[in-house]
């Protein structure tokens, strides 16, 4: 067992023998790159000039007035391509280029990671194939078209539940076949080592900026840092630079779908049973035979039965509290943010917002919450409309 690949009992490299040398070479290249100042200079250049960083830590004045504690939103929604996903994609594609790879593949759920990968591939002149569940292709039509406009080939995956889980299976299959010239850009803090670590390093910029910004604005650290969790990439990036701070508390918000008690949800943590999927050992939704259960959430980006291994570890060590909110709570929070602040958030990010509203009720006014607003909601307008089914939004 390679201890470096684990977070406590979670993580590892549960992949076929055909991918082991590939993982070793990715790990080697990654470890070398992150010690190379030139690599970071290039990464930072693209973060600033292309992605548009740094993005604001916005003080949500009207939310604060209504809910009590000071609420700050880290505006990842203002990044190029509309979400935090691009941070990681630029990092991984720079690494792929460094390794001499000419092709990239990726899985996508909501389509944000697919769009980000297609964007990065266009920027660096790489051939790009995106695997996406057939059901998600329907839910996120606009993002599919975006990827195609950016020159990517979108493969519709019809196996299993036709969502992110199955798109990831298919990407792994394609990777095992083509690893000799292809780099797999994993979009969340999941997968075999070193992916969870890489994704954290390339998303760390979120929390690093937020920390400096809150210190500048408030002269102190926040009481809470909150982010939504599907696989857990925006949350691990948001938490990373705060984790060593004694007095900061952390909340990860999973999707409770129709409610944990209905069984139709995407909360890997709520069920608390570890398993192995997509190359990693982590908490996983499973049935009585150890088959992976289909997750349910209104959010395609959180509709994933597992969670990144470091999150599983942070849960067990009680460093982070993991909670969940339902589809309904999420949509209410989404509309609230639209109306009070003029920001249309992604459905994923609205899960974090919903929990912020819940927790704020019991908090003193002088406390500070920093929340990661991981993406914008343009892609979700259809989903919200059909959820509300013409219900009057102005009542």
């Amino acid at each position: 067992m390679n201890k470096n690949s684990y977070y406590g009992q979670f993580g590892g490299q549960y992949v076929s023998e055909a991918l082991m040398n590939t993982l070793h070479s990715v790990e080697e290249a990654f470890e070398e790159a992150i010690k190379d100042q030139k690599f970071w200079e290039e990464y930072n250049y693209y973060m600033k000039e292309y992605v548009g960083r740094e993005n604001p830590l916005y003080f949500a004045k009207r939310l604060t007035e209504k809910y009590g504690p000071k609420i700050y939103l880290k505006r990842e929604d203002l990044n190029h391509t509309g979400a935090h996903k691009i941070n990681n994609v630029i990092g991984q594609i720079l690494l792929a280029r460094r390794m001499g790879k000419t092709k990239v593949i990726a899985e996508t759920g909501a389509g944000q990671h697919g769009v980000a990968t297609a964007t990065g591939a266009a920027l660096f002149g790489m051939e790009c194939t995106i695997f996406m569940g057939a059901e998600d292709i329907q839910r996120q039509e606009l993002n599919v078209f975006r990827m195609k406009m950016l020159g990517a080939q979108v493969v519709s995956v019809t196996s299993g539940s036709s969502t992110l889980k199955d798109a990831t299976n298919e990407a792994i299959r394609a990777w095992a076949k083509t690893a000799e010239d292809t780099f797999y850009v994993i979009g969340s803090a999941v997968g075999p080592h070193p992916y969870p670590k890489m994704v954290k390093e390339f998303q760390r910029v979120i929390g690093r900026e937020a920390k400096a910004q809150i210190l500048e604005k408030e002269g102190r650290l926040p009481d809470y840092v909150v982010a939504c969790c599907g696989g857990g990439s925006n949350s691990i990036g948001m938490f990373a630079d705060f984790l060593d701070e004694e007095n900061v508390k952390f909340v990860g918000v999973e999707a409770a779908g129709l409610g944990i008690e209905t069984g139709k949800h995407a909360s890997a943590m709520a069920m608390g049973k570890p398993g192995v999927l997509h190359g990693m050992r982590s908490y996983l939704l499973q049935d009585d035979d150890g088959n992976v259960q289909i997750a349910h959430s209104i959010s395609a980006g959180l509709d994933y039965p597992g969670i990144g291994p470091e999150h599983a570890y942070l849960r067990d060590t009680k460093k982070v509290e993991y909670v969940s909110v339902t589809d309904e709570e999420c949509i209410n929070a989404l509309l609230e943010l639209c109306k009070l602040e003029g920001i249309i958030p992604a459905i994923e990010s609205a899960h974090a917002m919903a929990y912020v509203f819940k927790m704020a009720k019991d908090m003193p006014k002088d406390q500070i919450i920093v929340m990661c607003l991981s993406g914008r909601g343009d892609k979700d307008v259809h989903t919200v409309a059909s959820y509300l089914k013409g219900e009057d939004m102005n009542k």
Binding site: A18, M20, H278
Partner: protein, 260 residues
């Protein structure tokens, strides 16, 4: 002695190659699966790989994926397959290898799983998502008497890993002959000959070739190197096309054996 080792020893002394098939457990149903296993033993199959269905079979191509899905829909699971193997063992001694994903073992409980294999007469395990680096947990229990053998898998890109993978290995070496998943056409990896020779050089046990094999002709060029061939997806397709007709299955096995 383990049934796999016994069988391979007998084949070696006769100078014969091994013929190994793969079938998904519980198809078309448990009773007929048992009949097919017995018929295979009669027809000359040397070792049977029994696939335990899993929801996310990442090492498998479309044929085995869909077989796996159908089996799950019919309620096939690990406990039921154990029971079937146990029932078979009275009059059928063909070596049986479970091909399965690690989560199924983990969920069942690793030690409990090994004990059940011993009790039911499962002779070997192939776990495609459990590479060498992650095997310590299960190996802790594989030293028990009559425990199944964990079959080492080697890929065309294993290169410098081969000696490590084969050290202390038992049973046979499963040489994956093409990149990717099971059941693609027999377009083997471009350096497959060199690769197989390299495995042979380091191996003190028989080496078998699998992934994408349909007919004896597919392995013709490698006969001097390998000790046997594994037919999976094609075998499943053939059974489906013939409505699991026992005579047709026997016919296929006999003709493959004869041509091999």
């Amino acid at each position: 002695m383990n049934r796999i080792e016994e069988k391979l020893k007998a084949l070696k002394s006769k100078g014969k190659k091994a013929f190994i098939t793969y079938m998904t457990a519980g198809l078309p149903d448990m009773e007929r699966m048992k009949q097919i296993i017995c018929a295979q033993e009669e027809a000359g199959t040397d070792i049977i790989e029994l696939g335990i269905p899993f929801s996310d079979p990442v090492a498998d191509g479309p044929v085995i994926q869909s077989a796996s899905r159908r089996a799950i829909e019919q309620g096939v699971n690990l406990s039921g397959t154990f029971q079937a193997v146990e029932e078979l063992r009275g009059d059928c001694q063909i070596p049986i290898v479970f091909m399965m994903y690690y989560n199924t073992i983990l969920y069942y409980g690793v030690e409990k799983f090994v004990d059940k294999c011993i009790a039911c007469g499962v002779d070997g395990l192939i776990v495609p998502d459990l590479p060498y680096e992650e095997q310590d947990e299960i190996k802790a229990f594989l030293g028990k008497e009559d425990a199944p053998i964990l079959i080492p898998l080697v890929s065309p890109v294993s290169a410098q890993r081969i000696p490590m993978l084969l050290e202390g290995a038992r049973g046979f070496v499963y040489c994956v002959s093409s990149m990717g998943v099971t059941g693609q056409a027999a377009d083997f990896h471009k350096n497959v000959s060199n690769y197989l020779q390299n495995v042979k050089k380091y191996s003190h046990i028989p080496i078998m070739m699998g992934f994408g094999i349909r007919t004896p002709q597919d392995v013709q060029g490698y006969k001097e190197i390998v000790d046997g061939a594994i037919v999976g997806s094609h075998f499943i397709k053939m059974m489906e096309e013939n409505q699991y007709n026992i005579d047709k299955i026997k016919e296929y096995i006999k003709s493959f054996k004869a041509g091999f």
